[in-house]
Symmetry: C2
Subunit: 191 residues, 2 copies
DNA sequence: TATATTTCTTAATCTAGATTAATTTTTTAA
DNA sequence: TTAAAAAATTAATCTAGATTAAGAAATATA
């Protein structure tokens, strides 16, 4: 099952077979049940995860005690609390499985070692981060220019299959509004 | 003046002196007057810029014809339309000087060549992107959990000097609301 | 120094989406 | 197969912030 990660890497970089293999050897497989946590608020996050199968949401709890979904992660995405992972500070967010899932995990210590030695793996992660940056930027742009109804429409258009996989209240939270309002939108659409 | 970029790189990576020098040689100095454009919507963006001095805003024009500020850039930040630059598609945004400014510019072609050869420069850009990612993530988190008034307060607390440098209507736009509403907030604060 | 342009403020009115609360539907688990 | 828990809906009411429209300050330019 490490082939899935291998293929992902080879899409963006060209490590030698040996380099790649010793990288893959650093990963452990981990299975996570729906609703289990990969990372919890307050903990130190010492690993980065590559999703093989399943779906996750990252969220924080605001002052009113309401869970706000920051992001979703699905197959072939990297997952971690970046802030906590990079700066080794206690996590401010939670990452929870939204389905029964499987991930490959690597420790920060091991990743750091590999990244001092491998050009191609630095390239790989640089390119991944460029893509993440573009996605974040687009999202901010959407948030600032579309109404709730339009955000929902655009999300459904771009992720038709994914919409089926998650409960609506999570999607509402991710889009920045309440589940009640999402219901209202959907009721409007039906007419 | 390339020392400023050199020092920035050395904060995060350890290229050899020779490697670093040949990288720095690829940059041209460019001076930009307040209100001039570095990148305009519809153009192809073939360069990445490092800000030596000054201040920029990136923005797009929404359907109602209103300019929405996506980001600011100041000294020691990298600037480009990432989406257009990476994917070589026409830019959807504008980047405009908000002060008389100076940047170092490098072409995508040259940057790509260097990045196929240098481990340490891949590391440098990877680390920069990690920081950008953390900042974007925090921003999304703030946008979803704070009121307009709180967003303004937090921004002023974290960037007291910068607030002085830009017109209020740009800050209002960046924070996601109208200049009229920012005035209202400021009036409230005074009491 | 005067004039034009850009930026900021104030105030009245309006609306997208929040809040509250009750009800229904779906899913889970015993 | 049924009770309990979780998720979704509906509807009434409320509010943060938008919109519109003037006017006042500040800045730039002649």
């Amino acid at each position: 099952m490490k082939d899935q990660l291998k293929n992902h890497i080879l899409q963006f970089a060209n490590p030698t077979e040996k380099e790649l293999q010793s990288f893959l050897d650093l990963f452990d497989l981990k299975s996570i049940e729906n609703k289990e946590y990969l990372i919890q608020e307050g903990q130190y996050c010492r690993h980065q995860y590559f999703i093989l199968k399943g779906c996750f949401r990252s969220f924080f709890v605001n002052r009113k005690g309401i869970e706000k979904v920051i992001n979703f992660g699905i197959e072939n995405w990297w997952l971690t609390d970046f802030d906590g992972f990079i700066n080794q500070t206690p996590s401010e967010i939670n990452i929870q499985a939204a389905e029964n899932s499987q991930v490959l995990k690597i420790s920060k210590t091991q990743l750091d070692i590999i990244l001092t030695n491998s050009l191609e793996l630095n390239r790989y992660f640089r390119i991944i981060l460029e893509k993440v940056r573009i996605a974040d930027q687009r999202r901010i742009q959407f948030m600032y220019s579309l109404s709730g109804e339009e955000l929902y429409q655009v999300f459904c258009d771009h992720n038709p299959k994914f919409v089926q996989r998650i409960p609506q209240y999570m999607l509402a939270s991710y889009l920045g509004f309440t589940p009640e309002f999402l219901s209202k939108i959907r009721a409007r659409k039906k007419l």
